[in-house]
C-alpha cells in the first residue's frame, strides 16, 4: 500500500464519521414517555389523527381565528371546542415539557407555536 500515512488516517476519519451514530449513542434504550392528562381520556380527535395531524389542526385553527374570527371547532363526533392552543390543548396537556417537548425535542422538531403563545391559561408561569 502506498501513501498509507495519508490514506489510512483519512479512511479512519471517514469510517469514524460514518459510524458516528453507533458510538455516540446516548441512552441505552430510546423511548419517549409522554405524561398524559390525568383527568381526560379523549383528545379532540382520536389519537392517530392527533399524532399525524395536530400540527395541521393547529395551523388550521390559527387561520380560522386570526383571519376569519371563527373560534369554535367541531370534531368528528360533533363535540365543540374553543380553537385555542393555550386554553384548549394546554389546559389538559398542561406541562409542555412533559408532553409537547418530549417528542419534538427527541426528533429535533422546533415548532414556533410558543414563540407567541403562552404555555398555560391565564398566563401563569
Amino acid at each position: 500500500m502506498y501513501h498509507a500515512k495519508y490514506i489510512i488516517p483519512a479512511l479512519l476519519v471517514f469510517l469514524a464519521v460514518v459510524t458516528f451514530p453507533f458510538w455516540a449513542k446516548g441512552k441505552a434504550v430510546y423511548r419517549v414517555e409522554l405524561k398524559l392528562p390525568a383527568n381526560q381520556t379523549e383528545c379532540i380527535e382520536d389519537t392517530e389523527t392527533m399524532r399525524t395531524s395536530h400540527m395541521q389542526i393547529l395551523d388550521h385553527w390559527r387561520d380560522k381565528v386570526v383571519r376569519e374570527g371563527e373560534r369554535v371547532y367541531t370534531n368528528a363526533k360533533g363535540v365543540k371546542y374553543s380553537m385555542s392552543l393555550t386554553n384548549t390543548c394546554m389546559s389538559c396537556h398542561s406541562d409542555k415539557e412533559k408532553f409537547c417537548d418530549k417528542c419534538h425535542n427527541s426528533v429535533g422538531v422546533a415548532p414556533y407555536c410558543w414563540n407567541c403563545h403562552l404555555t398555560t391559561p391565564k398566563g401563569g408561569k
Binding site: 502506498y2 501513501h3 479512511l11 441505552a28
Partner: protein, 334 residues
C-alpha cells in the same frame, strides 16, 4: 434502453420492499437484517476499494496545470490552479470537492459551418445542478442525524431550522427536499435528452439516479403525505445503533420500509459503482499533487535503474570516424 432497465430495476426494488415488508410482513428482514448487511457491505466494500487503489503507486507526479506556474518572482503564479506547495494543493482539492471548480470551467461549442468557426459558450448548468444535487443530498444526510442521535445535537437542529427557514406549509417544507428533486431530475433529463450524453450513458448511470429519486420521493411522501411516525422510526434506528434491534410496538408504514430498503440498496451498491467518485476524487493524481517536480525529487517506487540510455561510448563507437572528420571532439581517438 439502459434507462428503462434501470428504472425497472428500481421499480422492482420498490415492489420487493412493499410486498416483503407490507403484505408479507417480513419486518425484521427489511427493518433489521438488510440494513445491517447493507451497512457492512458498504463499509467493507469501501475499505476494499480504497485499499485496492492504494496498493498501486503513483509513479509520476502528473498534475494537470490549470494556470501560470511558479517560476520567476515577478510573474504572478496561479496558486490554486497550478499549486507548487502542499497548501496550494490542499486548497485546490477543497475547491474541487466543495465547489466543483473544474466543472465550473465547462464550456459548450457551437460550430458555424457557413463561416468555418468554432464558437464557445458558457455551459454552467451541469455545474449548477450537480452542485445543487450534491449539496442537497449532503444536507439531507446531515439532517437525518436527528433520527440517529439522541439527544439531537444543537447543530443538527440549526441545519434543520435553516433548511426549513422559508416556513412553508405544515410540516415545514425542507428546501433541500425540493432541490434534490430538481437536481436529480435535471441530471436524469440531461442523460435522456442530450444526444451526446445519452450515447455514452450506461445502465449504471441511470440506476443510481432512479434509486436516489426513489429514496427522495419515498422520504418526501413519508414526511408530507402520510406523516410517518418519526418516534417509532427513531425507536427502530436507535435500537439498531445500540445493537439491540427491536421493532417498535406500533407497526411502521410500508413506505418507510421501501425508503429504508432503497437506502440499503444504495449503501450496498455504492462501493462497487461509479459512486466511489466520492473517494476517488481525493486520489486523482492530476489534482492531488503539486506541480513541483522540477523543483524537487519525486520518487517512483518501481523506477528501474537498470534502464540506461544508449551510452555515449557506444554512440561514439558508431560514429567516431565521421565525428573526427567533422572536427567534433571525441573521447577516444580512432
Amino acid at each position: 434502453m439502459a434507462a428503462f432497465y434501470s428504472f425497472m430495476a428500481v421499480l422492482a426494488l420498490v415492489f420487493i420492499a412493499a410486498i416483503g415488508a407490507g403484505s408479507a410482513g417480513m419486518y425484521t428482514l427489511f427493518g433489521v437484517a438488510i440494513p445491517y448487511v447493507a451497512l457492512l457491505v458498504f463499509l467493507a466494500g469501501f475499505i476494499y476499494r480504497i485499499v485496492y487503489w492504494a496498493k498501486s503507486p503513483v509513479p509520476f507526479s502528473i498534475a494537470t496545470t490549470g494556470g501560470q506556474q511558479k517560476s520567476l518572482p515577478w510573474i504572478k503564479n496561479s496558486p490554486w490552479d497550478n499549486p507548487y506547495t502542499v497548501t496550494g494543493t490542499v486548497i485546490r482539492m477543497i475547491l474541487e470537492v466543495v465547489t466543483f471548480r473544474s466543472l465550473f470551467r465547462n464550456t459548450k461549442i457551437d460550430l458555424r459551418v457557413d463561416n468555418v468557426k468554432v464558437v464557445y459558450g458558457s455551459a454552467k448548468f451541469l455545474w449548477l445542478f450537480a452542485l445543487i444535487f450534491h449539496m442537497a443530498f449532503f444536507t439531507i444526510l446531515i439532517r437525518h442525524m436527528r433520527l440517529f442521535l439522541d439527544p439531537v445535537p444543537a447543530c443538527i437542529q440549526k441545519i434543520e431550522f435553516l433548511d426549513s427557514i422559508l416556513q412553508v406549509g405544515i410540516p415545514t417544507l425542507y428546501q433541500t427536499d425540493l432541490l434534490i428533486l430538481v437536481g436529480l431530475t435535471f441530471l436524469l433529463l440531461r442523460r435522456i435528452v442530450d444526444v451526446k450524453v445519452n450515447y455514452i450513458s450506461l445502465a449504471q448511470d441511470y440506476f443510481p439516479l432512479f434509486l436516489l429519486l426513489g429514496i427522495a420521493i419515498s422520504g418526501i411522501y413519508m414526511r408530507y403525505f402520510i406523516k410517518a411516525d418519526v418516534i417509532s422510526i427513531k425507536e427502530l434506528t436507535m435500537g439498531l445503533l445500540s445493537f439491540k434491534p427491536a421493532l417498535p410496538e406500533k407497526a411502521l408504514e410500508t413506505t418507510f420500509f421501501v425508503h429504508l430498503f432503497l437506502v440499503s440498496c444504495l449503501l450496498a451498491y455504492f462501493p462497487f459503482s461509479k459512486l466511489m467518485h466520492l473517494a476517488g476524487v481525493f486520489l486523482s493524481p492530476t489534482r492531488n499533487l503539486p506541480n513541483n517536480t522540477r523543483r524537487q525529487h519525486y520518487t517512483n517506487p518501481w523506477n528501474d535503474p537498470a534502464i540506461k540510455p544508449h551510452s555515449y561510448a557506444a554512440y561514439e563507437d558508431d560514429f567516431r570516424e565521421k565525428m573526427i572528420e567533422a572536427g567534433l571532439p571525441v573521447e577516444k581517438e580512432a
